[in-house]
C-alpha cells in the first residue's frame, strides 16, 4: 500500500487527481491479483496426502445437498417465467412452437448455471468466509498449524474440491427442474400437448448445450469456494472483519461468475 501511495503521488504531479486515483486503484488491483494467485498456488500445492475425507464429505453435503431447495426453487420459477415470457414475445410473429427449444437452450446454457452459481455464492460463499474467518480471528487456524496440520489441506482443499464436484451435479438437477417448470406452464397455461412438447425439447437439445453449462458450473464452483476461503482466510479484526469477509466473498464471487460466464460462453461460441 505504501508503494501505491508513493506512485500515486507521482501521478498527481503529472496528471492530477484522476491519474493519481487510477494509479492507486490499478496498483491495488494488481496486488490483490498477486495475492489471489499465491493463494491459488497454495491450494494446488496442497493437493497431496494426508486427505481429509471427513471434511470433504461434510462439504459435499453442505454445498450440494443443502443447496438443493434453493437451487430447485430458483430453477422451477425461472423455467416457468421463461415459458410465459417467450410465449408473449413469440406469439407476435406466430413462432409459439419454438418455446420448448428456447426454454431448454436458455436453461441449460445460461440460466441454470448462472442462477445456481449466484444462489450458491450467496449461500455457501458467505458461510465459508464466515466460518474460516471466525477460525482465523479466534486463532483456530494458528492452532491447526501448531498441531502440524496444513490449513490449506484441512480447510481449503476439501471445500474447493467439493464445490467443483458438486456444482455440475446441482446444475444438472436445476436443468431438469427448470425444463419441467417450462413444461408445466406450457401444458397447463399455454395449451401445448404434453407429448410433443417433451419430444421437441429432446430433439432440439444438443450435447454441447448441457456440456457447456456443466463446465460453467464447475468453474463457478471453483470461484465460489476460492472467494469464500480467500476472504475468510485473510479476515482480521473480530466480528466486523468476519462480516466484511462474508460480504466480499459473495460480491466478488458473483461478479466473477458473471464475468467468467461471458468468457466461457465466448470460448464455446468460437468453436
Amino acid at each position: 500500500m505504501n508503494t501505491a501511495t508513493r506512485y500515486a503521488r507521482h501521478g498527481a504531479r503529472f496528471g492530477g487527481e484522476g491519474l493519481r486515483l487510477t494509479g492507486a486503484l490499478s496498483l491495488r488491483f494488481t496486488a490483490a491479483l498477486g495475492r489471489l494467485t499465491l493463494f491459488t498456488g497454495r491450494i494446488l500445492s496442497a493437493v497431496a496426502p494426508p486427505w481429509y475425507g471427513r471434511n470433504f464429505v461434510r462439504q459435499l453435503i453442505e454445498i450440494g445437498y443443502f443447496s438443493l431447495p434453493v437451487v430447485g426453487m430458483t430453477a422451477i420459477f425461472t423455467g416457468m417465467v421463461l415459458a410465459l415470457q417467450s410465449y408473449t414475445g413469440f406469439a407476435r410473429f406466430s413462432a409459439e412452437s419454438a418455446i420448448p427449444n428456447v426454454v431448454v437452450v436458455s436453461i441449460t446454457r445460461e440460466l441454470g448455471p448462472v442462477l445456481a452459481g449466484l444462489m450458491v455464492a450467496g449461500r455457501v460463499g458467505a458461510a465459508m468466509a464466515a466460518e474460516i474467518g471466525t477460525m482465523r480471528v479466534t486463532e483456530q487456524i494458528d492452532a491447526l498449524e501448531a498441531l502440524s496440520t496444513d490449513p490449506f489441506r484441512y480447510l481449503v482443499l476439501p471445500r474447493v474440491l467439493a464445490a467443483v464436484l458438486v456444482m455440475p451435479i446441482l446444475v444438472f438437477i436445476a436443468d431438469i427442474i427448470g425444463v419441467m417448470g417450462g413444461y408445466f406452464i406450457a401444458t397447463q397455461r399455454l395449451g401445448f400437448a404434453s407429448g410433443s412438447y417433451l419430444q421437441n425439447t429432446l430433439d432440439f437439445l444438443e450435447f454441447q448445450d448441457v456440456f457447456s453449462g456443466l463446465v460453467k458450473a464447475a468453474a463457478f464452483g471453483f470461484i465460489i469456494a476460492l472467494m469464500g476461503c480467500y476472504h475468510g482466510y485473510r479476515s482480521r479484526g473480530g466480528a466486523q472483519g468476519v462480516g466484511a469477509a462474508a460480504t466480499y466473498a459473495v460480491v466478488s464471487a458473483s461478479i466473477l461468475i458473471l464475468t467468467f460466464n461471458y468468457l466461457i460462453t465466448e470460448i464455446f461460441f468460437a468453436q
Partner: protein, 267 residues
C-alpha cells in the same frame, strides 16, 4: 548474549538471540534474547501487551521475526527449511484464547494431534483423549460436548489437555490458569510440573499468577520494552528485594509506580 551458551550446563534447547518484530510501526520485540535448557521450566512474566504471546508464536513459526536468530538444538529456525515443521511436531501449545476447534467435539479436539501426527485410529485416540481429559479433571461425559457448551475455564482445560495429548517434548502454555479457581489452578500447576519433572518436557509458561509462577518455574524471565529485562531463579519471586532489580520488585509487588509503568505510559 550469544555467550550465554557457554554459561549454561548444556547447550540450550531453544535459544533466541536479538529478535526484532514489529507490527507496522509498533515494535513489539526489540533485541529479545532468551535461552531455555532441556527439561527446564521457564516462566515469562510481563505486563499485558508486552509481547509474551508474540514470542510464543515466533517459536511455533506462526509469526516470523524481522531480524535476529532463533535456534532449536543448534538448528537455525529462520534459515533452515523444514526445521520449523520438525520443531512444531514436538511442541504442544495452549493458546491464550484456548482456540478450540468449534466444529469438532471436545474429544476430537484433544485427540487432534494424535490423529494428525501419531497415526492412531479413532478408537485408540478416543481412549487417550478420555485419559487426558481426566488429567485436567474433566469427566468422560464432556468428551462428546462441543466447545460452545463449555465454560471458559473448561475450555482452557480442554486446550491444556490438547496441548499435552501427544506428550510433546516442548510445552508452551499461554496463561494456563487464567480464569480458573484456586483449586483448579493448583491441579493445573501440578500437571505442568508433572510434565516437566516426570516426563522430562521443557515448558515455557506465560502467566500473571505469581503463586502459580513460583510453584512451576525453575527460572523466571521478565519481559519489558521488547526484551528480557531481568531473569533469574524462581526464588527471586519470594524475595524480590534481594534480586536488586527495581522492575522485578515493582512487578511482583504490583505497584503502579516504577520503571515498568514509565514506558507503558509512553505507548
Amino acid at each position: 548474549m550469544t555467550d550465554a551458551t557457554d554459561n549454561a550446563p548444556s547447550a540450550p534447547q531453544i535459544s533466541a538471540e536479538g529478535l526484532f518484530l514489529s507490527f507496522g510501526k509498533k515494535e513489539v520485540l526489540k533485541n529479545f534474547s532468551l535461552n531455555i535448557g532441556r527439561g527446564e521450566s521457564v516462566v515469562i512474566l510481563g505486563r499485558s501487551g508486552c509481547g509474551k504471546s508474540v514470542f510464543l508464536k515466533c517459536l511455533l513459526g506462526l509469526l516470523r521475526p524481522d531480524d535476529g536468530k532463533l535456534f532449536w538444538q543448534n538448528r537455525d529456525l529462520l534459515k533452515e527449511r523444514g526445521a520449523p515443521r520438525e520443531l512444531r511436531q514436538r511442541i504442544g501449545m495452549l493458546f491464550q484464547s484456548s482456540a478450540l476447534f468449534d466444529s469438532l467435539t471436545v474429544w476430537e479436539n484433544v485427540a487432534f494431534g494424535l490423529l494428525a501426527t501419531k497415526r492412531m485410529n479413532r478408537a485408540e485416540a478416543y481412549d487417550v483423549a478420555i485419559e487426558r481429559l481426566a488429567e485436567v479433571e474433566l469427566p468422560p461425559e464432556t468428551a462428546l460436548l462441543s466447545p460452545a457448551e463449555l465454560s471458559g475455564g473448561m475450555k482452557k482445560r480442554v486446550g491444556l489437555a490438547r496441548a499435552v495429548a501427544t506428550r510433546p517434548e516442548i510445552l508452551l502454555f499461554d496463561e494456563p490458569t487464567s480464569g480458573l479457581d484456586p483449586i483448579m489452578t493448583r491441579i493445573i500447576d501440578d500437571l505442568i510440573l508433572g510434565s516437566v519433572k516426570s516426563l522430562g518436557a521443557t515448558a515455557i509458561t506465560v502467566t500473571h499468577d505469581m503463586q502459580s509462577a513460583a510453584r512451576i518455574a525453575d527460572r523466571v524471565a521478565l519481559l519489558h520494552g521488547g526484551s528480557i529485562c531481568w531473569q533469574g531463579g524462581v526464588d527471586a519471586l519470594a524475595a524480590p528485594e534481594d534480586a536488586g532489580n527495581p522492575s522485578l520488585l515493582q512487578f511482583v509487588r504490583g505497584e503502579s509506580r516504577g520503571p515498568l509503568a514509565l514506558s507503558a505510559e509512553k505507548e
